[in-house]
Symmetry: C2
Subunit: 287 residues, 2 copies
């Protein structure tokens, strides 16, 4: 069973609306709260050579990225740490705290636990006005399909390309960009942490329309052979770019480095250069 | 190093005010949000014989109990699950969902991850009016020291007393009681998940006054030998009762089953029958 099948089953219990977006959305007075939680652990999520400070940074970044993908403003983060050695915690907290401050959020609490394998779970809370909250659903045929930054850099870093090591070890949540895109009128949005392909299929699952992407429009990691670079961008994990749709008349968006890589189509499928895109990318699996 | 020393060090980085209470407190318009996260894992937190549904229930209960201890109303819960076997998740989610509904909260999302050891992290969000939010600090000399329910039952269950097995396996967060106590004017409060003793020392750390408890006033688990029962109540883990202080003229509190077990004193120490109480109880430790 893979992660997405499992999440679909959970939706059957707690309601499919609760598994449709990067964050859960709660109404609180005239604002929305968006909340998200992410579990990372050493063996599968922290690449060899990563410092504890970078692990803390990354734990905060994955969650802040989910908040960014809703167009929301991050407010606070909690960090639960399962520690094999207690002395690791201080650097982990410093890294998480640094990432929060950089995003305008505060690290306000957490929990500690003794664990055989380092396990970090961050939970973030953000706020948005109802009119500024962007979901994975909402794409309209004719909208452009766009991506911020250069996808695939984290995966290239994982493959050993030293130039992209920093993208892997210190991913930047697109917090400012997410809010600017929401204000600019993005119609749907999510972060691409499991690759462009899986993200497009996630968006396909909650939209009636489809997405047609052209490979030659995708900006690719520098100094990586073209085939490998495209593979990293489409099917690699670890990126924190934002994938979004926006009406053409609202593109480009001032202050956001992004590229139009395709178009929203009425046909309910994900196309790459006119053919069905492969549905693969990073997923946790159980045998 | 033990858990509390570690938490003290974290306070040095993120600010001591962020480690002082059961929940972090955030101002949101004219209300407060209270948020808390708790990590549980199979080897140390789920007793042998516990079903997956009960593990899910417990993961929700620990966090809802923290929200209850602030006098707040739980609103939403997120559950991150690190799973050794994917098929465990459905029952875990059902248990957590059941506990949330019983407390008036909704299970709104989460994360799944493949993990060698079952690891559950729940994060809860509650709301309170600023006037109704009760902290661990705020106790005044002359206040009564009180506890809800019968402390020590979960520990007695762990020791094998079948009568108390349910208290161990399906702990009830005191959500209604917490809100009633806040409205009734409790001056300080926390939940006693690591035993009465450690909880009193935690409260000592954030109050200028102290606490004098009389052992013969503590209600003890039935059908357990008296010495063992007192040991369970003072130093055992797994209970979800609320420990609170309240001015004598406001006690008892209608609708809350609780017992006055002592008094708040000006002397800054924790006393049991007039002598310094031992500072021990359930704590995660690292060698």
């Amino acid at each position: 069973m893979d992660e997405r099948e499992l999440i679909r089953r959970i939706g059957g219990i707690i309601g499919p609306e609760h598994v449709a977006d990067d964050c859960a959305v709660l109404r609180q007075g005239d604002h929305l709260l968006v909340v998200s939680t992410d579990m990372l652990h050493e063996k599968t999520d922290f690449p060899a050579g990563m410092t504890d400070r970078q692990a803390g940074w990354m734990a905060a970044a994955v969650t802040l990225s989910d908040i960014a993908a809703m167009g929301a403003k991050p407010v606070a983060l909690l960090l639960a740490a399962g520690l094999d050695r207690a002395e690791r915690l201080e650097e982990i907290i410093r890294g998480a705290d640094e990432c929060c401050r950089r995003s305008g959020a505060a690290l306000v609490g957490g929990d500690v636990d003794a664990h055989e394998e380092l396990t970090l779970v961050s939970t973030g809370i953000g706020t948005a006005r109802p009119s500024d909250c962007v979901r994975r659903s909402g794409a309209d045929p004719g909208d452009l399909v766009c991506i911020t930054g250069t996808p695939g850099r984290a995966q290239a870093g994982l493959l050993g390309y030293a130039l992209h090591r920093k993208a892997l070890f210190e991913p930047q949540p697109m917090v400012r960009e997410g809010q600017l895109l929401a204000l600019a009128g993005a119609t749907s949005m999510m972060d691409v942490s499991d690759g462009i392909a899986l993200s497009l299929f996630d968006m396909l699952g909650v939209n009636d329309c489809g997405f047609a992407v052209e490979s030659n429009k995708i900006p690719l990691p520098e100094e990586v052979e073209a085939g490998t670079a495209l593979e990293c961008a489409l099917y690699g994990g670890g990126d924190f770019g934002l994938l979004f749709t926006i009406p053409p008349e609202r593109y480009p968006v001032s202050g956001v480095a992004c590229t139009a890589i395709g178009i929203v189509v009425s046909e309910h499928s994900v196309l790459l250069d006119g053919s069905e895109m492969e549905r693969r990318g990073y997923q946790h699996r159980w045998e």
